[in-house]
Symmetry: C2
Subunit: 131 residues, 2 copies
DNA sequence: CGGATATACGTTATAGTATAACATAGCGCA
DNA sequence: TGCGCTATGTTATACTATAACGTATATCCG
């Protein structure tokens, strides 16, 4: 587990721990609340700086459609699948898909820098629960 | 031009006009500023309500990674391609791609409701300008 | 040692995005 | 006429994110 990290600072480690302990993405202010429980006063920049460093280290990513953050372990590669019922988030491998999109764009002279692919819906477990 | 619309209210038409006149997505508060220029006092809910109605009518969509809004005409189907240099946004057809992703998810028991696919990078025109 | 630089962090304030809640106005129609 | 519906106005506030400045600590090297 864990790649791309050098040494995490204690703020960064704490944020990462909370994200890994959660079973759904957390917003920055949810994290802020947890940190304020753990120790005393914490201000938003503390959280956002940790999030930025962790994102740059490849350890977390922002789920754009949720305005929230998730550890990369649960979300891995290109495609993020989000259950709107239970809130869980998974990464789905889709190598061919990313490949073919890439070729499409290259053919048009577009130089890709960053891809965001997020799918909302209901996961199998939640569908069963309603059956 | 234009589908899915019933009758637009004047707020909605005004917002849509501004979005169509722009060559890049606009934030809600940019739109708010334009509306305040056009007539006098306008408050955020006026803009957000119009955006919501237009989105439900399929006439615009939110570009999640930009926190901004674009007319569907410029952005069409599944894949949104964004140039980080000039700010323009295009829709790219990618039927096979969406198809195969869909099948992947169905196979896992996941029921899709909404897909967001956004690609950032530099468009061909901007690449030339730097050559 | 002592100073220069770099990094993280604390702290205060503010910018930017979005919605809740309640009041009002106009329209269609029983 | 009076009811219900929809859109709008209006005020306030919630939520998300960053700017700007100061301080502490570590590191490197003269």
């Amino acid at each position: 587990m864990g790649q791309g990290a050098d040494h995490l600072t204690s703020n960064q480690a704490q944020v990462l721990d909370h994200l890994r302990a959660a079973n759904a993405p957390m917003t920055a202010y949810q994290l802020l609340g947890r940190m304020q429980n753990d120790r005393g006063a914490v201000a938003p920049p503390t959280v956002y700086r940790a999030l930025k460093a962790l994102e740059e280290a490849g350890l977390i990513r922002r789920i754009e459609t949720l305005r929230a953050w998730a550890p990369v372990a649960t979300v891995r590669p290109g495609v993020v699948v989000i259950c709107d019922d239970c809130g869980t988030v998974r990464g789905v491998e889709a190598p061919g898909l990313l490949e073919s999109l890439h070729e499409r764009l290259v053919a048009e002279g577009f130089a890709e820098a960053r891809k965001t692919i997020e799918v909302h819906g209901r996961c199998g477990d939640c569908a069963e629960d309603r059956a």
